[in-house]
Point group: C2
Chain length 354, copies 2
């Protein structure tokens, strides 16, 4: 089958062997798969991330990424919606023709506490991700897409769940205010999640006018260019009284320190932007203002499923986020395009377009 392959730290389109479903697994045809900023990072910093995964698992056999071998092929893509086209042995509850989404992981065996029993779809040497014509899912993780929802919007379940989880993890409550630094896909998902909780005001900041417009569409009450007015200053202008939670969704070095410097005394900073590089902070600022920094990653199965439901029922309108659609052949160019944040939010890969 045709796939966009990460090989020797670059991306190329090639034919790779068709995958075959094992026990409890299904073969699924990719209908749509979003390109995630993490994959752009991974293409550039993959070896560093694998090394960090190994340091964190401290010699023990760790979760997905620590076992990756980047001298072998990797097919990325973990924000997918698929149609089931083949069943492995012992599969029940899923049928050919079902349109499904799934958390991007395959569970091998039944010991969920064994990190080596989990393969991360899209960051694996054996399980291809969604930048391809087909992939393998764990049947027990597949969730049927309801309400005849367009598979292109169902594919946004994963990134929207990341934002929803960050909002949940921050513990923000109605009556508090939010500043969202960065209106890329993660920041936009956070804004949508904050709006669902009923937060007001939500102040977004991004250098890009396109992204500021998207932030307002997704529910921000104010969107500022940090060159003209820092986000916390804008919040002070329009509110300044409520308890503030700052969401850092940019993920480049320096952002955490900047958020700490601008944060009001006693406030919380939720870091959801993935900064791959070493970063500098001034702990004195955190101490002087007794700040809390909470890091957030991913989502749990309930957050994932409720995000799909919110999209299908119209509580989350993700349509504005889709700013581009390409076939598998278009993936390398799409990666180039996404380096310019002014042009895009989410580009979908749809193999049917090849």
């Amino acid at each position: 089958m045709r796939a966009a392959v990460m090989r020797n730290d670059s991306l190329l389109v090639d034919d790779i062997p068709d995958p075959a479903p094992g026990p409890g697994e299904v073969l699924a045809r990719v209908l749509a798969c979003g390109i995630c900023g993490s994959d752009l990072h991974f293409l550039r910093h993959g070896r560093q991330m694998v090394a960090l995964g190994r340091e964190m698992s401290a010699g023990a056999p760790g979760g997905g990424m620590s076992r990756l071998d980047l001298d072998r092929d990797v097919v990325m893509g973990h924000e997918f919606c698929c149609e089931v086209v083949g069943l492995g042995p012992g599969v029940t509850g899923v049928n050919e023709g079902d349109v499904v989404v799934s958390m991007p992981m395959v569970v091998k065996g039944t010991d969920f506490t064994d990190p080596t029993a989990i393969e991360a779809i899209g960051y694996s040497n054996t399980y291809p991700g969604g930048y391809s014509e087909a992939l393998i899912l764990s049947s027990m993780l597949a969730i049927a897409v309801p309400n005849g929802l367009d598979p292109r919007y169902a594919a946004l379940t994963e990134p929207m769940a990341v934002g929803w989880h960050a909002v949940q993890k921050s513990g923000i409550k109605p009556g508090e205010a939010a500043v969202v630094l960065g209106a890329g896909p993660v920041g936009l998902a956070v804004i949508a999640g904050l709006r669902l909780v009923g937060i007001e005001p939500i102040v977004a900041a991004d250098f890009s006018p396109t992204r500021r417009a998207l932030a307002l569409t997704m529910g921000a009450h104010e969107a500022v260019d940090p060159k003209s007015e820092p986000a916390v200053q804008a919040w002070q202008r329009i509110d300044g009284a409520k308890t503030l939670v700052i969401y850092e969704a940019v993920g480049v070095p320096g952002m955490i320190d900047q958020a700490m410097r601008d944060a009001p005394r006693g406030s919380r900073i939720l870091v959801v932007g993935v900064c791959m590089e070493e970063d500098r902070v001034r702990p004195m600022i955190g101490i002087g203002k007794e700040l809390t920094i909470q890091f957030a990653l991913g989502y749990d199965p309930f957050e994932f499923a409720s995000t799909l439901r919110n999209i299908a029922e119209g509580a989350l309108d993700v349509q504005p986020l889709v700013t581009g659609e390409v076939g598998v052949a278009g993936v390398p160019q799409a990666f180039e395009d996404l380096a310019h944040p002014d042009l895009h939010a989410k580009i979908l890969v749809e193999p049917a377009l090849d």
Copy 2:
């Protein structure tokens, strides 16, 4: 009066004008004043700290430190117990001869929300701290020392309140476990506070054998040399099951990153060690394990008062912490001695010893 004066970024003993109490203030003779590690930091990094205070108050007239002028004299010392020897106009509720402690601040006027109305005793150009024969207190902040408690132990109210506040701020509950990195005065105060809450096990780590022995005396269940066994590893050996809170009480660059690397997934890190310098962290580690970093500073009036009561009633035995006593003339040498963490926990300045 005689005082140890910070002048031109160094410490010398000199005669300075006797202070006089204004309205609502009292003149108090210093009985004992602990030397705080923050003062060692301040002597070395004072100008940097003042600059940071100004950056944090963003041009507005800020709290105590941002208004300091280090080209003028500063008398440090904020962990004191005194005897009231003179009353300013309008003072009620405090009498000459009372032995008192106080949070190290003077409130000028009645608008507590005005940061310029507060002078930090020990970090002020106008209010001398306790490395001197006498100082000025706000009568409303003075608390009588109960139970005939030795003023030398009452002077430890302030540093013990810092540890108690850190324990409270972390929200740790019985049934959870604690690792305390660093068994200097702050770490030892944290250990004592954890013991008061009923935490078990408490694992302390320090390079110094003297400080490890003190950690056990103050209530740690295990004290390890991190060169031989990292603290989190020791906790895994003797517990490894409970929810863990890590207290960072060293305050040198690299400690936060190290705590993040060693922390179990989902755990909390309470930073109470004051790192004055810029620090490097790897946000990816925080994200990968969804860590929470909470910074803590100082204490509130209730925590301060209850710490004095705990010392006076014997719930907190601070006697082992006093490892040296000097007169005002001995302060510069005591600062030198405290640079060697193996020799001391707390040195008290007692002007009566001159």
